[in-house]
Amino acid sequence: MSAIKVENISKSFGKVKALDGISFDVKRGELFGLIGPDGAGKTTLFRVLATLLNPDEGGAEVDGFDIVKDYHAIRERVGYMPGRFSLYQDLTVEENLNFFAALFGVKVEDSYDLVAPIYRQIEPFKTRRAGKLSGGMKQKLALSCALIHRPSVLFLDEPTTGVDAVSRSEFWDMLADLKQRGITILVSTPYMDEASRCDRIALCNEGRILGIDTPTDIVAGFDSSLYAIKGDNMYQLLLAARKANGVRECYPFGEAHHMIADAEFDVEQFKAELVEVKGLHIEPTKPSIEDMFIKLMKQ
């Protein structure tokens, strides 16, 4: 049985179609990622699943309960961490935790085993007001609060946005640990590089899902040959490469440019064509989630 079952959900705000026929399933105990830029509809989807919004069309079940009819049952079973930091800034770390425990009618001690691995990291600051914490610590506190009632499903909306690389990586480690304890996690992020930390991902853009699969299989769907090219003058290289024979597409990709080649592409011929570009370096490269995302967006 699926922990989350979304069927053909649409939701509009005025003229803007935030969600446009979204469907997917999340298995029990799965770490499922919604990957997509701002405006992809991730937050709206979370709000619908967290029973804060009713969909215009379609329906969904969370933990076997209908999001419209049984929303009270769902509210008892899910932990929700909204995109913005949404704890009481003027309460201390400890007070926030106690407040949320009281809100769900539980005792902190009863869930301490679940919360402890995360909470212990911020415990030294427990008398500090939540508003004074760093980005990474705020996220840990918010996660602790979302876990306090032992939810069976966790909704995390962009938990790593605005958090530095070290805290981000720690945060993903924590999610992996929670998954081990059988909690189903639905998490969203705009960072493609975080996709590999999920069991399965859905690439979303402008209210639609471009593709759903495991990160490896998503990338495997990239069927063109891809090269990474470098040169001393990256901009001139980009312009020149686009004009070269057999180059279907070329776009900046961090340190190198990624180039999608046709069947007739020939490396030696390419080098000859770009003889004027100094320090030219070309090698085949493996596509990443981001390459796939670009490909899917263009389809």
Partner: protein, 246 residues
Amino acid sequence: MSDYIISVKELTKCFGDFTAVNRISFDVQRGEIFGFLGANGAGKTTAMRMLCGLSYPTSGSGTVAGWDVMREGEQIKRHIGYMSQKFSLYNDLTVWENIRLFAGIYGLSKAETEKRAAEALERLNFSSERNTLVGSLPLGWKQKLSFAVATIHRPKVVFLDEPTGGVDPITRRQFWEMIYEAADGGTTIFVTTHYMDEAEYCSRVSIMVDGEVRALDTPARLKEQFAAESMDEVFRILARGAKRGE
């Protein structure tokens, strides 16, 4: 004057007993895309504020776009461009009004504004959209426009604060392409970010930890030096040792 657009030596900023930025030194060349990275609380923002002329260093020396960071903050402000993802354009003004507003802020004459705005719109293929409200433009367009606005007074150096966070991959590439183009034309680009994938696009990168610059090199050499796969890993190796818990 040398070819360095930004050149700072032993720049320090203290707040009371706390040394937010501790003797940082580096040079940025003309036309370079310089990435300025650091964890939360590493002193990145403080350093950036000094370089933009928003606050004066406690000690040290340096120049930005030819102006003294110790004394000529006002001049620096006037001669640099600044763009941040959070705030850049007014959504309830049209494309044209936004350009005119910012040109006015930088003291361009009316005729000059007209000329440059037309040029900028031309270059972006935006001429047909000059009377469109910025709020109704797609995100990618907004970003390109705000970069054009940030460079309307032809600054020698543009400071970009997390320019492409949360933007879709295609728009993001278009944006970097624009930055490459500007850099190719001789504008220096100074990018502060804590997204490591943005760092990969920079020609050189400095990483701040605990108020000091701990590493400064091209992304390739940094990765080599730390035997890391990505800038993300380099950063994690460096920042793990951070003492400041913020």
